[in-house]
Amino acid sequence: MCHRSVGLVARILEAQGIPTVSLGVVRSMIDGTPAPRNVFVPFRLGQVLGEPGNVAQQQAVLRAALGAVTRVAEPGGLLELPFRWKRGTYPVPVGMAGQPPPRVDA
């Protein structure tokens, strides 16, 4: 039901001209009432971004979800993320306190 409620809100925001991406972990909910752009990740309810404290995993999911804004081309389209619960490997986290800022190429 959480999927449906936020998916419907996303439809209304999108109709107002605000682009949205909608994460989900229950495929049948997404298929029943799809949001404008849907991103499915095979994780658990309550741990949509990943495990607690797993910064690398959460960043990877967030990065992929936000990237769907340009990858989903049709209303109601779905992007399935390739991650696996507790068995995935993820890039080194970025933007943590104490890290130098990323190099910007001219």
């Binding site: 039901m1 959480c2 999927h3 449906r4 409620s5 936020v6 419907l8 809100v9 996303a10 439809r11 209304i12 925001l13 999108e14 109709a15 107002q16 605000i18 682009p19 949205t20 991406v21 909608s22 994460l23 989900g24 972990v25 229950v26 049948s28 909910m29 298929d31 029943g32 009432t33 404008p36 752009r37 658990r44 309810l45 309550g46 741990q47 949509v48 971004l49 990943g50 495990e51 607690p52 404290g53 910064v55 959460q58 960043q59 967030l62 990065r63 979800a65 936000l66 804004v69 340009t70 081309a73 049709e74 209303p75 970025v94 933007g95 943590m96 890290q99 800022p101 990323p102 910007v104």
Partner: protein, 170 residues
């Protein structure tokens, strides 16, 4: 139905994904709000200001909790400042297992992860305000969210200059 029963069932559903999938199939579709054409991102993602709508029952500790007594849920909104620390937030929601999110709110409201992507210059900025919902809604409470709340959410993000919104279920 008592709160402890709802909380118990939420833990069962979290552990057995097939139950959630079956529940989703039985829930059917909602046709009242049509699927609109996609709105284009007006800027590069690396410059975009990003907001979050979480249906995970997240709210400021000082704000009223969501109503857990109404079987149709609570269709009201909670505004979450973009600079809110995790320690200032609480979760009130009996219909999903939020023990992991109680430990790390980023599981359903990735505010720290957004800040890190800003620091790494992968996105432009964090929205000045985000929105917390209790997503387990039906009947009049779902209508309340869709007929009044959603427009308010749109105004909050429009006033905040938000380019892109991420929605997260509980």
């Amino acid at each position: 139905m008592t709160r402890w029963w709802n909380q118990l069932m939420s833990r069962v559903f979290a552990r057995v994904p097939r139950l959630s999938e079956s529940y989703g199939r039985r829930s059917g579709a909602v046709e009242e709000v049509p699927l609109p054409p996609l709105a284009g991102l007006a800027t590069l993602l690396s410059a975009a200001r990003v907001g979050i709508v979480t249906a995970g029952g997240v709210h400021l500790a000082q704000d009223p909790p969501f109503d857990m007594q109404d079987p149709e849920g609570d269709g009201s909104l909670r505004m979450i400042p973009g600079d809110a620390g995790a320690g200032a937030l609480r979760i009130t929601h009996d219909y999903y297992d939020h023990r992991a999110a109680d430990e790390d709110v980023n599981c359903v409201f990735p505010i720290d992860r957004l800040r890190e992507l800003v620091a790494a210059r992968e996105i432009g900025a964090v929205a000045p305000r985000h929105v917390g919902l209790m997503g387990h809604l039906s009947g009049t409470q779902l209508e309340r969210l869709l007929n009044r709340g959603a427009a308010e959410i749109g105004n909050v993000f429009a006033m905040g200059g938000v380019d892109l919104v991420l929605t997260v279920p509980g």
